[in-house]
Amino acid sequence: MTPSLARGLPLVVLALVAFGLPLAVTSATYLHILILLFLYAYLTTSWNLVGGFAGVLPLGHAAFVGIGAYTSTILSLQYGVSPWIGMFVGGLLSSLVGVIIGLPTFKMRGAYFALATIAFAEGIRVMFENIDYLGPLQINGPRGLQIPPLKTGLVHFMFADKEPYYYIILVMLAAVLALTWAISRSKLGYYLVAGGEEPEAAQSLGINVAHAKLAAMAMSSFLTALAGTFWAQFTLYIHPKSVMSLDISFEIAFIALIGGRGSIAGPVLGALLLRPVSDFSRIYFGDTLPGLHLIIFGVVLILVMLYQPRGLQEPLTRLYRRAMGRLIGDRGAPG
Protein backbone atom coordinates (compact mmCIF):
# COMPACT_ATOMS: atom_id res chain seq x y z
CA MET A 1 0.00 0.00 0.00
CA THR A 2 1.36 3.44 -0.82
CA PRO A 3 1.56 6.00 1.96
CA SER A 4 -0.97 8.33 0.39
CA LEU A 5 -3.45 5.50 0.01
CA ALA A 6 -2.85 4.49 3.61
CA ARG A 7 -3.59 8.03 4.65
CA GLY A 8 -6.64 8.38 2.45
CA LEU A 9 -8.24 5.03 3.14
CA PRO A 10 -9.27 5.63 6.77
CA LEU A 11 -10.88 8.88 5.68
CA VAL A 12 -12.89 7.09 3.01
CA VAL A 13 -13.94 4.43 5.49
CA LEU A 14 -14.91 7.11 8.00
CA ALA A 15 -16.98 8.95 5.41
CA LEU A 16 -18.73 5.74 4.34
CA VAL A 17 -19.55 4.87 7.94
CA ALA A 18 -20.87 8.38 8.59
CA PHE A 19 -23.08 8.30 5.52
CA GLY A 20 -24.34 4.81 6.23
CA LEU A 21 -25.00 5.34 9.92
CA PRO A 22 -28.70 6.26 9.65
CA LEU A 23 -29.29 2.83 8.10
CA ALA A 24 -28.09 1.22 11.29
CA VAL A 25 -29.31 3.80 13.77
CA THR A 26 -33.07 3.81 13.57
CA SER A 27 -33.80 5.17 17.01
CA ALA A 28 -34.81 8.80 16.75
CA THR A 29 -33.09 9.54 20.05
CA TYR A 30 -29.76 8.24 18.89
CA LEU A 31 -30.06 10.02 15.59
CA HIS A 32 -30.82 13.20 17.49
CA ILE A 33 -27.69 12.70 19.57
CA LEU A 34 -25.63 12.12 16.43
CA ILE A 35 -27.01 15.25 14.82
CA LEU A 36 -26.08 17.33 17.85
CA LEU A 37 -22.66 15.68 17.88
CA PHE A 38 -22.02 16.73 14.29
CA LEU A 39 -23.49 20.15 14.96
CA TYR A 40 -21.01 20.69 17.77
CA ALA A 41 -18.17 19.25 15.70
CA TYR A 42 -19.12 21.76 13.02
CA LEU A 43 -19.36 24.67 15.47
CA THR A 44 -16.06 23.80 17.06
CA THR A 45 -14.31 23.42 13.72
CA SER A 46 -15.56 26.89 12.79
CA TRP A 47 -14.40 28.24 16.15
CA ASN A 48 -11.04 26.60 15.61
CA LEU A 49 -10.24 28.98 12.75
CA VAL A 50 -9.76 31.76 15.29
CA GLY A 51 -9.53 29.94 18.58
CA GLY A 52 -7.14 27.34 17.26
CA PHE A 53 -5.10 28.69 14.40
CA ALA A 54 -5.00 32.34 15.42
CA GLY A 55 -4.08 31.46 19.00
CA VAL A 56 -6.66 33.54 20.87
CA LEU A 57 -9.46 32.37 23.15
CA PRO A 58 -12.86 33.53 21.93
CA LEU A 59 -15.57 32.74 24.49
CA GLY A 60 -18.57 34.33 22.84
CA HIS A 61 -19.31 32.34 19.70
CA ALA A 62 -22.88 31.77 20.85
CA ALA A 63 -23.56 35.31 19.65
CA PHE A 64 -22.89 34.20 16.08
CA VAL A 65 -25.07 31.11 16.47
CA GLY A 66 -27.82 33.42 17.65
CA ILE A 67 -27.36 35.94 14.85
CA GLY A 68 -27.56 33.15 12.30
CA ALA A 69 -30.61 31.57 13.89
CA TYR A 70 -32.51 34.82 14.29
CA THR A 71 -31.67 36.21 10.86
CA SER A 72 -32.89 33.27 8.86
CA THR A 73 -35.89 32.72 11.11
CA ILE A 74 -37.05 36.33 10.97
CA LEU A 75 -36.54 36.46 7.22
CA SER A 76 -38.53 33.31 6.68
CA LEU A 77 -41.30 34.08 9.19
CA GLN A 78 -41.84 37.69 8.21
CA TYR A 79 -40.77 37.85 4.60
CA GLY A 80 -41.13 34.29 3.38
CA VAL A 81 -37.45 34.06 2.44
CA SER A 82 -36.16 30.50 2.23
CA PRO A 83 -33.95 29.64 5.22
CA TRP A 84 -31.25 28.61 2.75
CA ILE A 85 -31.00 32.22 1.62
CA GLY A 86 -31.49 33.53 5.13
CA MET A 87 -28.64 31.31 6.20
CA PHE A 88 -26.19 33.22 4.04
CA VAL A 89 -27.62 36.60 4.96
CA GLY A 90 -27.12 35.60 8.59
CA GLY A 91 -23.61 34.48 7.78
CA LEU A 92 -22.71 37.81 6.23
CA LEU A 93 -24.26 39.75 9.07
CA SER A 94 -22.46 37.64 11.60
CA SER A 95 -19.22 38.09 9.71
CA LEU A 96 -19.67 41.83 9.89
CA VAL A 97 -20.27 41.66 13.64
CA GLY A 98 -17.25 39.38 14.00
CA VAL A 99 -15.03 41.90 12.27
CA ILE A 100 -16.42 44.73 14.41
CA ILE A 101 -15.58 42.75 17.54
CA GLY A 102 -12.20 41.77 16.17
CA LEU A 103 -11.04 45.24 15.15
CA PRO A 104 -10.38 46.54 18.65
CA THR A 105 -9.95 43.23 20.48
CA PHE A 106 -7.24 41.61 18.38
CA LYS A 107 -4.88 44.27 19.63
CA MET A 108 -5.41 42.96 23.14
CA ARG A 109 -3.91 39.85 24.53
CA GLY A 110 -5.03 36.79 26.39
CA ALA A 111 -7.43 37.49 29.17
CA TYR A 112 -8.74 40.77 27.82
CA PHE A 113 -9.71 39.18 24.53
CA ALA A 114 -11.53 36.35 26.30
CA LEU A 115 -13.37 38.81 28.55
CA ALA A 116 -14.29 41.10 25.66
CA THR A 117 -15.82 38.26 23.67
CA ILE A 118 -17.83 37.06 26.66
CA ALA A 119 -19.11 40.55 27.31
CA PHE A 120 -19.99 41.09 23.70
CA ALA A 121 -21.94 37.86 23.43
CA GLU A 122 -23.73 38.40 26.72
CA GLY A 123 -24.48 41.97 25.73
CA ILE A 124 -26.12 40.81 22.50
CA ARG A 125 -28.10 38.17 24.37
CA VAL A 126 -29.36 40.66 26.94
CA MET A 127 -30.32 43.00 24.13
CA PHE A 128 -32.35 40.32 22.38
CA GLU A 129 -34.05 39.47 25.66
CA ASN A 130 -35.11 43.06 26.05
CA ILE A 131 -36.48 43.96 22.66
CA ASP A 132 -39.67 42.82 21.06
CA TYR A 133 -39.16 44.71 17.85
CA LEU A 134 -36.00 45.84 16.16
CA GLY A 135 -37.49 48.32 13.71
CA PRO A 136 -39.91 46.20 11.69
CA LEU A 137 -38.29 42.94 12.77
CA GLN A 138 -40.05 40.92 15.40
CA ILE A 139 -37.59 39.57 17.95
CA ASN A 140 -40.09 38.72 20.66
CA GLY A 141 -37.76 39.23 23.62
CA PRO A 142 -37.23 36.33 25.98
CA ARG A 143 -40.15 34.40 24.48
CA GLY A 144 -38.26 33.84 21.27
CA LEU A 145 -39.58 32.68 17.93
CA GLN A 146 -41.50 29.58 16.99
CA ILE A 147 -41.22 28.19 13.47
CA PRO A 148 -44.52 26.58 12.51
CA PRO A 149 -43.87 23.27 10.73
CA LEU A 150 -46.14 24.03 7.81
CA LYS A 151 -44.18 23.40 4.66
CA THR A 152 -41.71 20.58 4.61
CA GLY A 153 -39.18 19.81 1.91
CA LEU A 154 -35.65 20.69 0.98
CA VAL A 155 -36.50 24.19 -0.27
CA HIS A 156 -38.05 25.07 3.07
CA PHE A 157 -35.23 23.48 5.06
CA MET A 158 -37.80 21.56 7.04
CA PHE A 159 -38.38 17.84 7.29
CA ALA A 160 -40.75 15.51 9.04
CA ASP A 161 -38.07 13.11 10.18
CA LYS A 162 -34.49 13.42 11.28
CA GLU A 163 -32.48 11.74 8.49
CA PRO A 164 -32.40 14.78 6.20
CA TYR A 165 -31.09 16.92 9.05
CA TYR A 166 -28.46 14.31 9.69
CA TYR A 167 -27.24 14.46 6.12
CA ILE A 168 -27.33 18.23 5.94
CA ILE A 169 -25.19 18.68 9.03
CA LEU A 170 -22.89 15.89 7.89
CA VAL A 171 -22.30 17.63 4.58
CA MET A 172 -21.81 20.94 6.37
CA LEU A 173 -19.27 19.32 8.67
CA ALA A 174 -17.42 17.69 5.78
CA ALA A 175 -17.33 21.01 3.95
CA VAL A 176 -16.01 22.98 6.91
CA LEU A 177 -13.38 20.32 7.57
CA ALA A 178 -12.25 20.47 3.95
CA LEU A 179 -12.12 24.24 4.17
CA THR A 180 -10.06 24.07 7.36
CA TRP A 181 -7.69 21.63 5.72
CA ALA A 182 -7.28 23.93 2.73
CA ILE A 183 -6.74 26.98 4.94
CA SER A 184 -4.21 25.21 7.12
CA ARG A 185 -2.12 24.58 4.01
CA SER A 186 -2.58 28.07 2.60
CA LYS A 187 -0.68 31.29 3.12
CA LEU A 188 -3.41 32.47 5.48
CA GLY A 189 -3.08 29.31 7.55
CA TYR A 190 0.66 29.75 7.90
CA TYR A 191 0.18 33.40 8.77
CA LEU A 192 -2.39 32.63 11.44
CA VAL A 193 -0.21 30.06 13.11
CA ALA A 194 2.83 32.32 12.94
CA GLY A 195 0.91 35.30 14.32
CA GLY A 196 -0.57 33.19 17.10
CA GLU A 197 2.71 31.68 18.21
CA GLU A 198 5.18 34.57 17.89
CA PRO A 199 3.49 37.78 16.81
CA GLU A 200 6.67 39.84 16.75
CA ALA A 201 8.55 37.37 14.59
CA ALA A 202 5.52 37.03 12.34
CA GLN A 203 5.34 40.77 11.81
CA SER A 204 8.99 40.95 10.91
CA LEU A 205 8.33 38.32 8.25
CA GLY A 206 5.81 40.52 6.48
CA ILE A 207 2.66 39.44 8.28
CA ASN A 208 0.03 41.93 9.34
CA VAL A 209 -1.08 39.74 12.22
CA ALA A 210 -4.23 41.70 13.01
CA HIS A 211 -5.39 41.44 9.38
CA ALA A 212 -4.85 37.70 9.32
CA LYS A 213 -6.82 37.32 12.53
CA LEU A 214 -9.62 39.50 11.20
CA ALA A 215 -9.84 37.34 8.10
CA ALA A 216 -10.06 34.27 10.29
CA MET A 217 -12.67 35.90 12.49
CA ALA A 218 -14.77 36.88 9.47
CA MET A 219 -14.77 33.30 8.22
CA SER A 220 -15.30 31.79 11.62
CA SER A 221 -18.28 33.96 12.47
CA PHE A 222 -19.76 33.42 9.02
CA LEU A 223 -19.54 29.65 9.34
CA THR A 224 -20.81 29.66 12.92
CA ALA A 225 -23.91 31.58 11.89
CA LEU A 226 -24.75 28.95 9.27
CA ALA A 227 -24.99 26.43 12.09
CA GLY A 228 -27.37 28.82 13.85
CA THR A 229 -29.80 28.53 10.96
CA PHE A 230 -29.47 24.77 11.05
CA TRP A 231 -30.18 24.84 14.78
CA ALA A 232 -33.32 26.93 14.26
CA GLN A 233 -34.64 24.70 11.49
CA PHE A 234 -33.85 21.58 13.46
CA THR A 235 -35.46 22.60 16.74
CA LEU A 236 -38.11 24.93 15.24
CA TYR A 237 -37.96 27.11 18.32
CA ILE A 238 -35.32 29.64 19.27
CA HIS A 239 -34.99 32.05 22.14
CA PRO A 240 -32.04 34.03 23.48
CA LYS A 241 -31.27 31.57 26.27
CA SER A 242 -31.22 28.63 23.85
CA VAL A 243 -29.21 29.89 20.89
CA MET A 244 -27.16 32.60 22.58
CA SER A 245 -26.31 31.18 25.96
CA LEU A 246 -22.86 31.42 27.41
CA ASP A 247 -22.97 27.65 27.88
CA ILE A 248 -22.76 27.15 24.12
CA SER A 249 -19.73 29.38 23.87
CA PHE A 250 -18.02 27.51 26.66
CA GLU A 251 -18.94 24.07 25.41
CA ILE A 252 -17.47 24.88 22.00
CA ALA A 253 -14.26 26.06 23.62
CA PHE A 254 -14.12 22.99 25.89
CA ILE A 255 -14.55 20.61 22.98
CA ALA A 256 -11.81 22.34 21.04
CA LEU A 257 -9.40 22.45 23.95
CA ILE A 258 -9.91 18.85 24.97
CA GLY A 259 -9.79 17.57 21.41
CA GLY A 260 -6.85 19.74 20.49
CA ARG A 261 -7.18 23.26 19.20
CA GLY A 262 -5.30 24.29 16.12
CA SER A 263 -5.52 20.82 14.62
CA ILE A 264 -8.04 19.63 12.07
CA ALA A 265 -9.05 16.43 13.83
CA GLY A 266 -9.14 17.98 17.30
CA PRO A 267 -12.63 19.52 17.23
CA VAL A 268 -14.22 16.39 15.76
CA LEU A 269 -12.42 14.22 18.24
CA GLY A 270 -13.45 16.49 21.08
CA ALA A 271 -17.09 16.37 20.01
CA LEU A 272 -16.93 12.59 19.67
CA LEU A 273 -15.62 12.31 23.21
CA LEU A 274 -17.66 14.97 25.01
CA ARG A 275 -21.06 15.08 23.35
CA PRO A 276 -21.98 11.48 24.27
CA VAL A 277 -20.88 12.16 27.84
CA SER A 278 -23.21 15.11 28.05
CA ASP A 279 -26.13 13.45 26.23
CA PHE A 280 -26.03 10.13 28.05
CA SER A 281 -25.47 11.60 31.48
CA ARG A 282 -28.43 13.85 30.81
CA ILE A 283 -30.54 10.88 29.73
CA TYR A 284 -29.53 8.52 32.50
CA PHE A 285 -28.55 10.77 35.38
CA GLY A 286 -30.44 13.93 34.51
CA ASP A 287 -32.78 13.51 37.48
CA THR A 288 -30.55 11.86 40.01
CA LEU A 289 -27.20 13.51 39.31
CA PRO A 290 -27.86 16.80 37.57
CA GLY A 291 -24.79 18.53 36.22
CA LEU A 292 -22.77 15.33 36.30
CA HIS A 293 -21.60 15.78 32.74
CA LEU A 294 -20.38 19.28 33.52
CA ILE A 295 -18.31 17.94 36.40
CA ILE A 296 -16.86 15.36 34.03
CA PHE A 297 -16.13 18.12 31.49
CA GLY A 298 -14.38 20.15 34.14
CA VAL A 299 -12.27 17.27 35.38
CA VAL A 300 -11.32 16.15 31.87
CA LEU A 301 -10.54 19.72 30.88
CA ILE A 302 -8.20 20.21 33.81
CA LEU A 303 -6.47 16.86 33.33
CA VAL A 304 -5.98 17.51 29.64
CA MET A 305 -4.61 20.99 30.26
CA LEU A 306 -2.18 19.67 32.85
CA TYR A 307 -0.99 16.57 31.04
CA GLN A 308 -1.75 17.07 27.34
CA PRO A 309 -1.97 20.83 26.86
CA ARG A 310 -2.17 20.42 23.09
CA GLY A 311 -5.25 18.27 23.41
CA LEU A 312 -6.01 14.58 23.12
CA GLN A 313 -5.56 14.69 19.37
CA GLU A 314 -1.80 14.45 19.79
CA PRO A 315 -1.43 11.23 21.77
CA LEU A 316 -4.29 9.62 19.87
CA THR A 317 -2.71 10.43 16.52
CA ARG A 318 0.50 8.89 17.75
CA LEU A 319 -1.32 5.75 18.87
CA TYR A 320 -3.20 5.57 15.61
CA ARG A 321 -0.05 5.88 13.57
CA ARG A 322 1.64 3.19 15.53
CA ALA A 323 -1.35 0.90 15.06
CA MET A 324 -1.48 1.68 11.34
CA GLY A 325 2.24 1.13 11.09
CA ARG A 326 1.91 -2.29 12.62
CA LEU A 327 -1.10 -3.13 10.50
CA ILE A 328 0.29 -2.28 7.10
CA GLY A 329 4.02 -2.47 7.68
CA ASP A 330 6.30 0.35 8.61
CA ARG A 331 6.80 1.58 5.07
CA GLY A 332 3.17 2.42 4.62
CA ALA A 333 2.79 4.20 7.94
CA PRO A 334 1.55 7.69 7.28
CA GLY A 335 4.27 10.03 8.46
Partner: protein
Protein backbone atom coordinates in the same frame (compact mmCIF):
# COMPACT_ATOMS: atom_id res chain seq x y z
CA UNK B 1 23.63 53.95 -3.77
CA UNK B 2 22.57 54.05 -0.14
CA UNK B 3 20.23 51.30 0.94
CA UNK B 4 19.75 52.70 4.40
CA UNK B 5 20.20 56.21 5.79
CA UNK B 6 19.86 56.78 9.50
CA UNK B 7 19.70 60.48 10.28
CA UNK B 8 20.08 61.84 13.81
CA UNK B 9 17.94 59.13 15.35
CA UNK B 10 17.04 59.35 19.01
CA UNK B 11 15.11 56.77 20.98
CA UNK B 12 14.20 57.31 24.61
CA UNK B 13 12.37 54.97 26.97
CA UNK B 14 11.05 57.28 29.64
CA UNK B 15 14.25 58.66 31.10
CA UNK B 16 16.55 56.13 29.43
CA UNK B 17 18.32 57.50 26.38
CA UNK B 18 18.77 54.20 24.55
CA UNK B 19 19.87 55.80 21.27
CA UNK B 20 21.16 59.37 21.11
CA UNK B 21 21.63 61.31 17.89
CA UNK B 22 22.80 58.40 15.78
CA UNK B 23 23.56 58.81 12.07
CA UNK B 24 24.85 56.20 9.65
CA UNK B 25 24.65 55.31 5.97
CA UNK B 26 24.70 51.79 4.67
CA UNK B 27 25.77 51.49 1.04
CA UNK B 28 24.38 48.89 -1.32
CA UNK B 29 26.24 45.62 -1.20
CA UNK B 30 28.13 46.51 1.96
CA UNK B 31 28.45 44.63 5.20
CA UNK B 32 28.28 47.18 8.00
CA UNK B 33 29.01 46.14 11.55
CA UNK B 34 27.56 47.68 14.72
CA UNK B 35 29.38 47.01 17.97
CA UNK B 36 29.23 48.32 21.50
CA UNK B 37 28.99 47.18 25.11
CA UNK B 38 25.86 45.57 26.55
CA UNK B 39 22.97 47.96 26.78
CA UNK B 40 24.59 50.43 24.37
CA UNK B 41 21.38 50.63 22.33
CA UNK B 42 22.24 48.40 19.36
CA UNK B 43 19.07 46.31 19.39
CA UNK B 44 17.01 49.42 20.03
CA UNK B 45 18.45 50.97 16.88
CA UNK B 46 17.58 47.83 14.92
CA UNK B 47 14.05 47.94 16.25
CA UNK B 48 13.71 51.52 15.04
CA UNK B 49 15.03 50.61 11.61
CA UNK B 50 12.73 47.57 11.39
CA UNK B 51 9.66 49.60 12.36
CA UNK B 52 8.98 47.87 15.69
CA UNK B 53 8.69 51.30 17.27
CA UNK B 54 9.30 54.76 15.85
CA UNK B 55 12.38 56.80 16.76
CA UNK B 56 11.68 59.52 19.32
CA UNK B 57 13.14 61.92 16.77
CA UNK B 58 15.21 61.75 13.61
CA UNK B 59 14.60 60.05 10.32
CA UNK B 60 15.27 56.73 8.69
CA UNK B 61 15.31 56.31 4.90
CA UNK B 62 15.14 52.84 3.39
CA UNK B 63 15.70 52.52 -0.38
CA UNK B 64 14.98 56.22 -0.81
CA UNK B 65 11.74 56.13 1.16
CA UNK B 66 11.21 57.60 4.61
CA UNK B 67 10.06 54.84 6.93
CA UNK B 68 8.03 56.98 9.33
CA UNK B 69 4.69 55.29 9.89
CA UNK B 70 5.71 52.03 8.23
CA UNK B 71 5.13 48.89 10.27
CA UNK B 72 7.49 45.90 10.40
CA UNK B 73 5.41 44.01 7.82
CA UNK B 74 5.40 47.01 5.46
CA UNK B 75 9.17 47.21 5.66
CA UNK B 76 9.52 43.49 5.17
CA UNK B 77 7.48 43.71 1.98
CA UNK B 78 9.77 46.51 0.79
CA UNK B 79 12.80 44.30 1.24
CA UNK B 80 13.96 44.56 4.84
CA UNK B 81 14.38 41.46 6.98
CA UNK B 82 15.77 41.03 10.44
CA UNK B 83 16.64 38.41 13.02
CA UNK B 84 15.96 38.66 16.73
CA UNK B 85 18.70 38.59 19.32
CA UNK B 86 16.47 36.43 21.47
CA UNK B 87 15.39 33.93 18.83
CA UNK B 88 11.67 33.61 18.26
CA UNK B 89 11.02 30.38 16.35
CA UNK B 90 7.49 29.06 15.81
CA UNK B 91 8.50 26.38 18.23
CA UNK B 92 5.74 23.84 17.73
CA UNK B 93 6.28 23.68 13.97
CA UNK B 94 8.89 22.15 11.72
CA UNK B 95 11.89 24.02 10.42
CA UNK B 96 10.46 23.89 6.92
CA UNK B 97 7.19 25.36 8.18
CA UNK B 98 9.07 28.20 9.85
CA UNK B 99 10.96 29.07 6.70
CA UNK B 100 7.87 28.77 4.52
CA UNK B 101 6.21 31.45 6.64
CA UNK B 102 8.95 33.76 5.49
CA UNK B 103 8.76 32.54 1.91
CA UNK B 104 5.05 33.36 1.71
CA UNK B 105 6.04 37.02 1.78
CA UNK B 106 6.92 36.71 -1.89
CA UNK B 107 4.31 34.28 -3.15
CA UNK B 108 0.83 33.08 -2.34
CA UNK B 109 1.45 29.62 -3.81
CA UNK B 110 2.31 26.87 -1.41
CA UNK B 111 4.45 24.89 -3.83
CA UNK B 112 6.48 27.98 -4.67
CA UNK B 113 6.86 28.87 -0.99
CA UNK B 114 8.07 25.37 -0.27
CA UNK B 115 10.55 25.53 -3.16
CA UNK B 116 11.94 28.84 -1.95
CA UNK B 117 12.16 27.60 1.62
CA UNK B 118 14.07 24.48 0.64
CA UNK B 119 16.41 26.58 -1.45
CA UNK B 120 17.23 28.74 1.57
CA UNK B 121 17.66 25.73 3.82
CA UNK B 122 20.09 24.24 1.33
CA UNK B 123 22.02 27.45 1.18
CA UNK B 124 22.37 27.47 4.97
CA UNK B 125 23.23 23.77 4.94
CA UNK B 126 20.34 22.79 7.15
CA UNK B 127 18.07 20.93 4.75
CA UNK B 128 18.61 17.77 6.80
CA UNK B 129 16.73 19.54 9.61
CA UNK B 130 13.70 20.42 7.47
CA UNK B 131 11.34 18.19 9.39
CA UNK B 132 12.77 18.72 12.85
CA UNK B 133 10.57 20.56 15.34
CA UNK B 134 11.92 24.11 15.62
CA UNK B 135 11.63 24.05 19.39
CA UNK B 136 13.98 21.07 19.57
CA UNK B 137 16.89 22.66 17.71
CA UNK B 138 20.24 23.45 19.29
CA UNK B 139 20.96 27.11 19.91
CA UNK B 140 23.28 27.24 16.88
CA UNK B 141 20.60 25.81 14.62
CA UNK B 142 17.99 28.14 16.05
CA UNK B 143 20.15 31.10 15.14
CA UNK B 144 20.53 29.69 11.66
CA UNK B 145 16.79 29.15 11.42
CA UNK B 146 16.33 32.79 12.37
CA UNK B 147 18.48 33.75 9.38
CA UNK B 148 16.81 31.22 7.09
CA UNK B 149 13.37 32.62 7.83
CA UNK B 150 14.54 36.15 7.15
CA UNK B 151 16.27 35.12 3.94
CA UNK B 152 13.17 33.37 2.67
CA UNK B 153 11.48 36.75 2.41
CA UNK B 154 14.20 37.57 -0.20
CA UNK B 155 15.34 40.82 1.39
CA UNK B 156 17.54 43.52 -0.06
CA UNK B 157 18.75 44.53 3.39
CA UNK B 158 19.30 42.02 6.16
CA UNK B 159 19.66 43.04 9.81
CA UNK B 160 21.45 40.42 11.91
CA UNK B 161 21.31 40.84 15.69
CA UNK B 162 24.02 38.74 17.37
CA UNK B 163 23.49 35.65 15.29
CA UNK B 164 26.85 34.24 16.39
CA UNK B 165 26.47 34.58 20.14
CA UNK B 166 26.76 31.18 21.73
CA UNK B 167 28.27 29.46 18.70
CA UNK B 168 31.45 27.38 18.78
CA UNK B 169 34.49 28.77 16.91
CA UNK B 170 34.03 26.42 13.95
CA UNK B 171 30.37 27.39 13.77
CA UNK B 172 31.36 31.06 13.83
CA UNK B 173 33.67 30.54 10.87
CA UNK B 174 30.92 28.77 9.01
CA UNK B 175 28.53 31.63 9.73
CA UNK B 176 31.05 34.23 8.55
CA UNK B 177 31.38 32.33 5.28
CA UNK B 178 27.60 32.15 4.90
CA UNK B 179 27.13 35.87 5.50
CA UNK B 180 29.89 36.74 3.03
CA UNK B 181 28.20 34.46 0.52
CA UNK B 182 24.95 36.37 0.98
CA UNK B 183 26.68 39.65 0.31
CA UNK B 184 28.31 38.23 -2.78
CA UNK B 185 24.86 37.42 -4.11
CA UNK B 186 24.00 41.14 -3.87
CA UNK B 187 22.44 41.52 -0.44
CA UNK B 188 23.26 44.41 1.89
CA UNK B 189 23.93 43.42 5.47
CA UNK B 190 23.85 45.35 8.73
CA UNK B 191 25.12 43.24 11.56
CA UNK B 192 25.38 43.51 15.36
CA UNK B 193 28.00 41.25 16.84
CA UNK B 194 30.05 40.90 19.99
CA UNK B 195 32.55 38.42 18.59
CA UNK B 196 35.36 40.70 17.46
CA UNK B 197 37.11 38.18 15.28
CA UNK B 198 33.93 37.70 13.27
CA UNK B 199 32.95 41.33 12.96
CA UNK B 200 36.46 42.33 11.93
CA UNK B 201 36.57 39.63 9.28
CA UNK B 202 33.14 40.44 7.93
CA UNK B 203 32.63 44.16 7.90
CA UNK B 204 33.51 46.75 5.30
CA UNK B 205 32.73 49.43 7.84
CA UNK B 206 32.02 49.38 11.56
CA UNK B 207 30.14 51.80 13.79
CA UNK B 208 30.68 51.79 17.53
CA UNK B 209 27.93 52.63 19.97
CA UNK B 210 28.35 53.58 23.61
CA UNK B 211 25.56 54.78 25.90
CA UNK B 212 23.42 55.28 22.80
CA UNK B 213 25.90 57.54 20.99
CA UNK B 214 28.15 56.72 18.10
CA UNK B 215 31.72 57.13 19.30
CA UNK B 216 33.50 55.95 16.16
CA UNK B 217 32.98 54.82 12.61
CA UNK B 218 35.45 53.47 10.07
CA UNK B 219 37.06 50.45 8.51
CA UNK B 220 37.86 47.52 10.80
CA UNK B 221 41.52 48.61 10.85
CA UNK B 222 40.62 52.15 11.88
CA UNK B 223 38.28 50.90 14.60
CA UNK B 224 40.87 48.52 15.98
CA UNK B 225 43.28 51.42 16.35
CA UNK B 226 40.81 53.98 17.72
CA UNK B 227 41.76 55.04 21.26
CA UNK B 228 38.25 55.69 22.46
CA UNK B 229 36.94 52.41 21.14
CA UNK B 230 39.74 50.51 22.81
CA UNK B 231 38.99 52.22 26.09
CA UNK B 232 35.26 51.91 25.88
CA UNK B 233 34.85 48.50 24.47
CA UNK B 234 37.69 46.48 23.04
CA UNK B 235 39.90 46.69 26.09
CA UNK B 236 43.63 47.32 26.19
CA UNK B 237 44.41 43.73 25.26
CA UNK B 238 42.76 43.96 21.91
CA UNK B 239 44.66 47.10 20.90
CA UNK B 240 47.95 45.47 21.86
CA UNK B 241 47.18 42.26 20.01
Amino acid sequence: MKVLEIKKVRRYFGGIKAVENFSLDVAEGAIVGLIGPNGAGKSTLFNCVAGVFPPTSGEIVFLGERTAGLKPWDLCRRGLARTFQIVKPFAARSVLYNVMVGAFAGTARRSEAERRALEVLQRLRMEHLSHARAGNLTIADRKRLEIARALATRPKLLLLDEVMAGLRPTEVDEMVAIIKGLRDSGMTIFVIEHIMRAIMALSDRIAVLQFGSKIAEGTPQEIARDERVIKAYLGEDYGAA
